[in-house]
Symmetry: C2
Subunit: 138 residues, 2 copies
DNA sequence: GCGATATGACTACATCTGTAGTCTGAACGC
DNA sequence: GCGTTCAGACTACAGATGTAGTCATATCGC
């Protein structure tokens, strides 16, 4: 939740460390969750045009993610191959829960009400949610 | 909305300004959404013990929120009475959507899948969501 | 083998956020 | 009226984040 806010106390994925992954860092993680390992240059190819970043920016973000324990490095000649150390689903789960806790006191129904009101639910979403609800009731 | 991260571009509630409300600032807004107008001292009474903050901290957060356009001030003698300029529901809606956009590509069903997996859905939530689904299908 | 180069290491700086201290003066209370 | 006090205004500082530049060097390629 984007309230951005520095000194938070949640782990990137609940594993180790206590740092958060920032928006910019998350964009880098997304690239590597899609495909890894990759080099810094490869990551930049995928993200620099859309985000209007330059290579030094990506390198900084990668280094910070390594520092935070979110990425692993594997030497490959003069460069590193970067791989995620946290799973996307774990990260997404933690962040989702954190937002629900923060904005909705941990309750999912109010969140759903909000999304429904704002027409953020497609017919597909509805069908999928109904399917999930059926499974939950088993 | 959590990835904390400074220079974001979303408005507190889509009204004016381009600043985000941080976690700490949000705690202050919550107090004033519950009851306003209130003075800085009153806000501190409600939040300083639980957050282990002192009065200067609250005053800073209030001033920043005023600067961001999220709070209005009404002189009352030597002090101000603070009131929200943005509605909680608007803020919560924006933040929810932002997170769904960011983590789930704007789709709500995957979010529910995550919450369901993590047992974040109570029986009450499920019943409520079903009710909302029924209304949506009308 | 050697010059070129890519890339990590390191640095820079502005802004935001978290937390709090200091000071002044208008309001307050006696 | 006057001393006191409270609270806004202002300041401070550390850490996080966004964005990027510089440099040294090991690897690369010829």
């Amino acid at each position: 939740m984007t309230a951005r806010g520095g000194t938070s106390d949640s782990a990137p994925s609940g594993e180790s460390g206590a740092e958060r992954i920032s928006d910019a860092e998350y964009a880098v993680m997304e690239v590597l969750w899609k495909r890894s390992p990759q080099t810094a240059a490869e990551v930049c190819e995928r993200v620099c045009a859309t985000r209007d970043w330059s290579m030094p920016t990506v390198k900084t973000l990668l280094a910070r993610l390594v520092q935070k324990g979110a990425l692993a490095t594997q030497p490959d000649g003069r460069r590193f191959l970067y791989s995620p150390l946290i799973e996307r689903r774990a990260y997404v789960g933690t962040e989702s829960k954190r937002m629900v806790d923060r904005l909705f006191g941990g309750r999912a129904a109010p969140l759903f009400a909000h999304l429904a009101e704002n027409e953020a639910l497609t017919d597909e979403d509805i069908a999928e949610i109904e399917r999930l609800l059926r499974e939950l009731k088993k």
